[in-house]
Amino acid sequence: MIEKEKAAEQTISNINQEARDGYEQHFKVISPGRMVAKRFFKSKLSIAGLYMIIFVFLFSFVGPLIVDVTWGYEELEVFKIERIDDMVSTADFKGPDGKIYTYYDKSQTLVYFKAPPSAEHWLGTDTSGFDILTRLMYGGRISLTISFIVIFLETIIGVILGGLAGYFGKWVDQLIMRIVDILACLPGLPILLVLSATIKSIDTIPAEHRIYYMMAFLTLMGWTGVTRIVRGQILMLREQEYMLAAETTGISPMHKIFRHLVPNTMPQLIVSATLGLGGVILYESTLSYLGLGVPFPRAAWGSMIALADPSKGQEILAYYPNMWVPAGILIVVTVLGFSFIGDGLRDAFDPRMKR
């Protein structure tokens, strides 16, 4: 009886072994990264966001090359296209009989700029005779470059300071977090305006260098968010058992922070960076809109929309949507694309909220 049972047990364990082998054959082991990628691509919004960003990137970085190769001009090429513009101005006045009369004045002027969309210039030319489509491409290039550099710098500063604050606690944490508190309380846009206006007024700084200062300011205003995320995560992770395990092996604090703790904050960092890209683009375009960003004659999406500012006359706002609407649409597409991707990544990293 016992013999028989032993034999039976042997068979069962063989089956189990075989089943396990089968398991390994059948179950492809997928890395966490691939799981995240899969969850990311499952959401239609993330894919839409990805397409939007790819489009904007191709448009901004490959577009200028195509324009250069096919038509042989760059962003600052001025086109003089002659056409006759009808200008009708009206005014109301009170006649001697007390009735209201309207006065019409039609004048025909020869204009060279502000050409309407045509086969050569798909979106027409602007008030200075620049090709709008080309300027959109160059503007995008600047916006995207700035946003990526700023976010990159913010993340580096945030990871280092947040890591130190979270790990060491005590006075290090106090010091860093109070600085963060103070910076977070500064009104962002007004301060950026003051700084940009100051830089603009200093004659010793060449106009093309202003953009570097702007990036520095944007970084200085933005790193606090990353620091808070990293610190919060590290405070939480420090309590986990595996950190205790790392502690017992006696590795150095720096090693612990940047090898064991910081990598675990990556999901949050990637998400916040992606969402931050859109934020930087909005800031940059606002500064450009106010004339404090990329200096003229260089193109920026914000300054292209500024042409429609009704304080400078309603003509462009009313009759030339081709000059400012595309730039606005591009800003929306870019920021929206980054938010879609950011949201998709967050759901992919943290599937708790998903079914």
């Binding site: 009886m1 016992i2 049972e5 034999a7 039976a8 047990e9 068979t11 069962i12 364990s13 063989n14 089956i15 189990n16 075989e18 089943a19 089968g22 059948h26 179950f27 492809k28 997928i30 899969k38 691509f41 499952k42 079914r355």
Partner: protein
């Protein structure tokens, strides 16, 4: 013995037929499943959302008028993106009036989903009752078919006729309302022409009933001000406040300290007698079952593998899984110092094999076990098990195996 060859043969056949047990699905496949699921779910939801359903459609007759609830061939599936999970896959059992029915099984075997199906609380829209019936008899002798009952009618059953106690007392009470408010709500909702004053009196009475020393104080407390045991008492008091016919207790003691566990069980038994109701007790703790239950239902991977009276199950278990369960509970009697454990894992819930689900973990498997799923074999009026070994009236001599170990 040939069993191993048999297994290989099955796997071979499956591979030839293109049956794949892999968990990994490509994005495209998942999308297809997801689309298919949405279609199915929409159908079920449309059915559930119907308004003004005539009463005849969900009135029915009980098989046995002594039962409060009868489950018959119940199937509750979850339509997930990686495939359909058959959480409850053909479950049949009765809950007689005034009795305690214990449902045992390891986590994920479908015992909670069975109880949630009875409450129509399965996590919609993914979770749906696909087929089968749940019959319920109210105190006037009227019988309802729960699976066909419209939502608004179901609201009158929940909390009033069938009440539920959950596993996690720490999170099962709303943190922003006082205990009193949460308790009064049930009374005000279900008792006709109940006044706030009446509700308050009833709540205090119930708090007193479940052995809370200072009901006035607890009534005005927020949940976070109470301990886990106290909160579970409050949950029980809340369940009792409309004197339900059936209390579903879903692992009521799992999250509690051992000393508190005994108190809560004692309390449950007491109140059952006081209100003359039935209890459906869901647990994975055999000790709790032995203490409390009159009838036991053992579930494995969405199916019932054995059911019977508590005496039959504990003294004469038939299914190898039940036997394994019995052996894996610690008892001071045996000298053996190693606790028995059932080897292996429950099969992947998405692609269930078409043979016995316990086959690959069973140490008594024979050839037929790998070929078809066993039918229920009846031993007595109350005792039955689903095992090929039991077909000739129980081949196994369980006592002998026990001694050999």
């Amino acid at each position: 013995m040939g069993l191993l060859d048999k297994w290989r043969q099955i796997k071979q056949a499956e591979a030839e037929q293109g049956i794949d047990h892999t968990m990994y699905l490509t994005l495209k496949e998942e999308r297809r499943i997801s689309r298919e699921n949405n279609r199915i779910i929409r159908q079920f939801e449309r059915e559930k959302n119907r308004k003004n359903v005539p009463e005849e459609e969900y009135l029915t007759k009980m098989r046995d008028p002594n039962n409060v609830v009868e489950f018959e061939n119940l199937h509750t599936y979850f339509f997930t993106d990686v495939g359909t999970v058959k959480s409850v896959n053909g479950v049949t059992f009765d809950i007689p009036q005034g009795k305690v029915v214990g449902v045992v099984g390891e986590s994920g075997c479908g015992k909670s989903v069975t109880s949630l199906s009875l409450m129509q609380l399965v996590q919609a829209p993914q979770g749906q009752i696909v087929s089968g019936s749940i019959r319920y008899q109210d105190r006037n002798g009227k019988c309802y078919e729960i699976t066909k009952m419209p939502r608004d009618k179901m609201l009158k059953v929940r909390g009033k006729e069938i009440a539920m106690i959950f596993q996690e007392p720490m999170t099962s009470l709303n943190p922003v309302f006082k205990i009193g408010e949460q308790m009064d709500e049930v009374v005000l909702l279900h008792e006709e022409d109940a006044t706030p004053k009446m509700a308050r009196e009833r709540s205090l009475e119930m708090l007193n009933l479940v052995g809370i020393a200072d009901p006035q104080k607890v009534y005005n407390n927020y949940p976070h001000e109470l301990s886990g045991g106290m909160r579970q008492r409050v949950m029980i008091a809340m369940a009792l406040s409309c004197t339900p016919r059936l209390i579903i207790a879903d692992e009521p003691t799992t999250a509690l300290d051992v000393t508190i566990q005994a108190q809560i069980l004692e309390l449950l038994r007491d109140v059952k007698n006081k209100i003359n109701g039935s209890i459906m007790l869901i647990t994975h703790d055999l000790g709790v079952i032995a203490e409390m239950a009159d009838y036991v239902v053992v579930m494995y991977a969405g199916r019932i593998i054995e059911k019977g009276t508590v005496r039959e199950i504990f003294h004469n278990p038939k299914h190898p899984y039940t036997i394994g369960l019995m052996r894996s509970k610690p008892s001071g009697k045996t000298k053996d110092n190693r606790l028995y454990s059932i080897k292996g894992q429950v099969p992947n819930p998405i692609n269930m094999p078409n043979h016995c689900y316990f086959f690959n973990r069973c140490d008594r498997a024979i050839e037929i076990c790998a070929e078809e799923y066993p039918e229920m074999v009846q031993f007595t009026d109350t005792h039955s098990a689903a095992c090929h070994l039991c077909r000739n009236g129980g081949l196994m001599d369980t006592n002998s195996t026990k001694e050999q170990r």
